[in-house]
Symmetry: C2
Subunit: 405 residues, 2 copies
Amino acid sequence: MAGTVNRVEGGTVTAARGFLAGATYAGLKTYAEDKLDLGLILSEAPCTAAGVFTTSTIRSPSVTVSQEHIARGPVRGLVVNAGIANTCVGEQGYTDAKEMASLAARHLGVQPEEVLVCSTGIIGVELPISLIRNGLAEIGLSTDGGHALARAMMTTDTRPKEFAVSFEVDGRQVHVGGVTKGSGMIHPNMATMLAFVTTDAAVESDFLKATLREVADSSFNMLTIDGDTSTNDTLLVLANGLADNRPIAAGSVGADIFKEALSEVCVHLTKEMARDGEGASRLIVVEVSGAQDTVNARKAARTVASSSLVKSAVYGADPNWGRVMMALGRSGAAAEETKVDLYINGVCIMQEGKPIPFHRDAVVALMRGPEVTFRLNLNLGEGEAIAWGCDLTEEYVIINSAYST
Amino acid sequence: MAGTVNRVEGGTVTAARGFLAGATYAGLKTYAEDKLDLGLILSEAPCTAAGVFTTSTIRSPSVTVSQEHIARGPVRGLVVNAGIANTCVGEQGYTDAKEMASLAARHLGVQPEEVLVCSTGIIGVELPISLIRNGLAEIGLSTDGGHALARAMMTTDTRPKEFAVSFEVDGRQVHVGGVTKGSGMIHPNMATMLAFVTTDAAVESDFLKATLREVADSSFNMLTIDGDTSTNDTLLVLANGLADNRPIAAGSVGADIFKEALSEVCVHLTKEMARDGEGASRLIVVEVSGAQDTVNARKAARTVASSSLVKSAVYGADPNWGRVMMALGRSGAAAEETKVDLYINGVCIMQEGKPIPFHRDAVVALMRGPEVTFRLNLNLGEGEAIAWGCDLTEEYVIINSAYST
């Protein structure tokens, strides 16, 4: 049916026509049976590509190489490794990122400039190029290889994150699928977060770039795990056009539904990342309405979702709502205490700045579920936003005090 | 000796002439033997006063009342309670803060407008004014009452924080003493942090205000415990002039040494707060030099000190220096990777952006001490700053997931 976006069961980055993927264990992560750490995606046809990258001033040369290759023209595939970030290694980092693209291109039978490069893992360690060379040679590509790729991207993630949808445009069935990895060093403006989205839709380049940016701002950029932004964040979308629709462009047939589908994939992956945040035991959703504008709404939502004190309270299923108000107050968003309404999982806690007596045990019970939602109405304007995060647990500290040791 | 600032052994907020203090247990905190939760300071002479307050849009009416009273004129004293923040309680909050000032004034024998009001503790709970009335009646004031007052301010602090210095100006002995409390919800722009400084120096009002602001920006505002800014942050300084020096003003005799003394007290208290951050096991010091300017240096230092990943690594005595670079990169401070030098406790880890091989075990051993110092030279300009923080431990999570329960 035109007009509806449907989930593709078990969908991943190879759900769209003409995308193949695969992965292997190259030796970049500590060995464990079934572990993967190096992956490839290949499109059978050249892709229009767009990317959103870390805003950090200290960035991996892998990011630089991907930016250069996207700026240059059509893309055929990408190579990704987990375990080593290829960051802060001096000039060797750029050389290695270029070499990794070349080696992948040779294996895929395409040009080096047609391959994007992504790395994630520990900073300050050089990529062992010989291990990558040997690893690439072992990767077999297949139309359900997206699952292996999703596992190969993982660092402290406890599970792969994949999702795909389909919809009709122009009488053609179109797919949008994605994979992502978290799960620490994650805060708006992209985080140690790699996300790859593929589609068989034909999409005009400027529209793809603009839509990706817009969708990223209300999905991945509204995610916060620990307030830290990584040196390697990359979100890529590849559109190979094999669905053979008339290219989707601004205002064209299919523009709205394509954006909706892309958004659905990105929001789903964002929530999965939040749920799988380092040490997380529950998802935090912060819905802000009535803000002066979207910018203010996003500030408020992101600040509440990223507050260590709010996150700790959620871990303890503790309706310590004063911390939500504290975080709102320091967010920089325009707010007037006497206008604010606050709800926890649907229960009204504060109305127009006045605390409402609530049944504490009931709210504690609600907060013990897998999701805690704080809804704030600032009653100042029309700005809305949703942010996603996770609770702060002892496990986060344990994971991160022993990561490189 | 003129020109030197000397520590006053066991000094506190009553080290300066004419300042009396005292405290009692009024019943605002859960009872425990020796617990105190309500305190008073009285000056025998009217004081020139200045304050720095939370920048949050959601703030306690106690803050508002103190601001109003400082704006009005000379101050004679202050009342402080711990356990309840008097925040997010609707209009009752302002009424209660005014009432608390009036009750304190009656007990001190001064005017209500001459008394400042500070509260810290849980948000969203009304002050039990009858308990405060009864408590105030029990407070006896003395010249060494500062120690009791320092204990009465504490919330999750594990120990009181007090410090005093003296110096000569105009042939007169002058004292500056202070007390403070932390220890969570603490991040630059003032935090659940109350700090009171007293001096018997005569200080001209505009100079006192400007100097306090300047000193706060390089002491309390460079402290970060958990990135959260409180609704109640207050730093106050009271100068009663009983040292009988010619009033210190901008450019006058004593201006420099007064600023030095005030800074010494504030920096000392800041470090004590960092050391006693919620769950902290060690102090983090981040020294940035070579930044484009002071603003950039402060951004870089604060961001590194507040990074959850850096804090977790310090807890694990893990020289995972890539996280320091990550935090620098996301700080917003101008930085070029190829120019950065990084030292951990004096050991060079990176020079001009290139990792230097270091003896890992030796650095781990250094990091197991009570203080971990990251020194970053950005080699771009003359900007310098120091920030203080603490490691992130399981204990932080435990404290904050059970605070209100």
